[in-house]
Structures are given as C-alpha cells and as structure tokens.
C-alpha cells in the first residue's frame, strides 16, 4: 500500500470544523470519489473533527491519500490528548452522548466509511481512524 500524500491539520476551535470539511472535500474530489461518497466522507470528517474539539479538547486530523493496487483510498486520523472514552462500546451506540449532541458522531461515521478504528485510554486521549476506498 502506497501513501501518495500525507498532511496533518490542527483542530482547535469550532471554525476549524468548517475548514476540515473543505479540505476533506478537496481531497475526496482529487482522489476521484463520486459525489455521494464525497458527501459521506465530508460528513464523517465533520463529526469526528467536532468530537476532537468538543470532547477531546482539541487535537489533529491527519489525511492520507492511499493507493492499493487499482484502489484508491482516503484515510483520516483524528487524535487528541483529551480525557479519553471510558466505555467504548457505549460510546459507539447510536444516540449515546455525554454532551448536548445527538450521539451519532461515532456510530454514524462508522456507517459512512469503509473502515473504522478507535483507540482510547482514559486520561490519555483518543484516536479515531476512518478510511474509505473508491
């Protein structure tokens, strides 16, 4: 698997969510995703960026353009050093939230992307990695 492009963006304030949506759109267009796939990717990026900022107290988004034979992919890693998630299974449930959201960010992003990975250690932080293949 080749990495054709690799960049990392800061996520601090709520304005950065808009910026991440724009970047995710640009990458998805460049990689050649269909309009519906672009929309799914941008939506997942928006959800996960908001989690990084709201729940994780800020962090980074790493974007990678992957090539695996004839298939191309976009991998997005969201990393923070926030409070972490004590019960992942619960957090992944539709509608579960500890804040004021709808509790669809994690579960919904998982449905929108082809691959979904999450690691979290209480007190240390959270990393969510999602990938979509053409």
């Amino acid at each position: 698997m080749d990495v054709r492009k690799d960049e990392t963006y800061e996520l601090r304030a709520s304005e950065d969510i808009v910026r991440i949506r724009q970047r995710a759109r640009a990458w998805a267009v460049e990689i050649g995703f269909s309009l519906v796939d672009q929309t799914k990717i941008v939506t997942a990026a928006s959800e996960l960026a908001r989690n990084t900022i709201d729940h994780g107290k800020g962090g980074t988004a790493r974007f990678r353009y992957l090539v695996n034979g004839a298939r191309k992919g976009l991998r997005l890693d969201f990393t923070d050093q926030g409070p972490g998630i004590p019960d992942l299974q619960l957090a992944l449930r539709d509608g579960y939230t500890t804040g004021t959201g709808l509790g669809l960010g994690l579960s919904g992003s998982r449905r929108l992307m082809s691959e979904f990975e999450i690691e979290s250690a209480p007190g240390k932080g959270t990393r969510v990695s999602v990938t979509r293949w053409t």
Partner: protein, 123 residues
C-alpha cells in the same frame, strides 16, 4: 460575524442558508429566527438548504430545533432543497430529521405551508 439573512414574504419567513455554517452561526440563526417569528407573527418558515453540500448531526440538530421552536410558537417549518447526496448521507448517519417537514424546492414548500391556511378561503 456573518449572519444568515431572514426574508419576510407575506405570512412566511424565508431563510436561505448560503454558506457552510459555523457552529456559532447556527446558534445565532436560531435566536434571530425565533425573534422574527414573534415580531412578525409569521405562520410559516421556509429554510432553503439547497446551497448546503453537507448536513452533519450538528446542523441536523439545528434544523430539528428550528422546527420545534417554530412549532411551539405556532409557525410551521419546511426545509426545502436538500440535495440528494445529502439526503442519502443523512439516512446513513442515522439522522432522519423527525418532526421536520421537507419539500423539493421553495415553491413546493410554499404550497405546503399555504395548504395549511385553507380556512381563510372557506370563511
């Protein structure tokens, strides 16, 4: 800070969302729209999202809240112009906008809201 314009059209208010919404703009819009409903006594609100390329759960929640607040103030809300790719994505996200009426475009939305006022024609 940018503000979302709210236009008055007879008994209706038209909100056209032209930009990718910051979270704070979304909150501001809710406050502005609620004030305008009460000031104008509007009976209906059309929210045109045809320019929105993405609706995530935050914006979806805002649309649901706008509809609920309007309802509590006796105005009906119709969200118009949702793009097909957005509709598909919303369903996969798990967000089905319960309580939010939708229509294809502004004209259809106006028909839908006008349809609620047939009482006058009878009177």
């Amino acid at each position: 800070m940018d503000k979302i314009p709210i236009l008055r059209m007879g008994e209706l208010l038209l909100v056209t969302i032209q930009v990718d919404l910051h979270d704070r703009m979304a909150v501001q819009l809710q406050d502005d729209l609620t004030d305008r409903i009460v000031q104008t006594g509007a009976k209906g609100v059309l929210i045109d999202i045809s320019a929105l390329e993405v609706v995530d759960s935050f914006i979806g929640r805002m649309l649901g809240n706008l509809a609920a607040v309007s309802r509590v103030l006796d105005a009906e809300t119709v969200v118009v112009g949702m793009r097909p790719a957005v509709a598909i994505t919303l369903v996969e996200l798990g967000l089905e906008l319960p309580g939010v009426r939708t229509a294809l475009n502004v004209e259809r939305g106006m028909e839908l809201l006008g349809g609620g006022h047939v009482g006058r024609a009878q009177g």
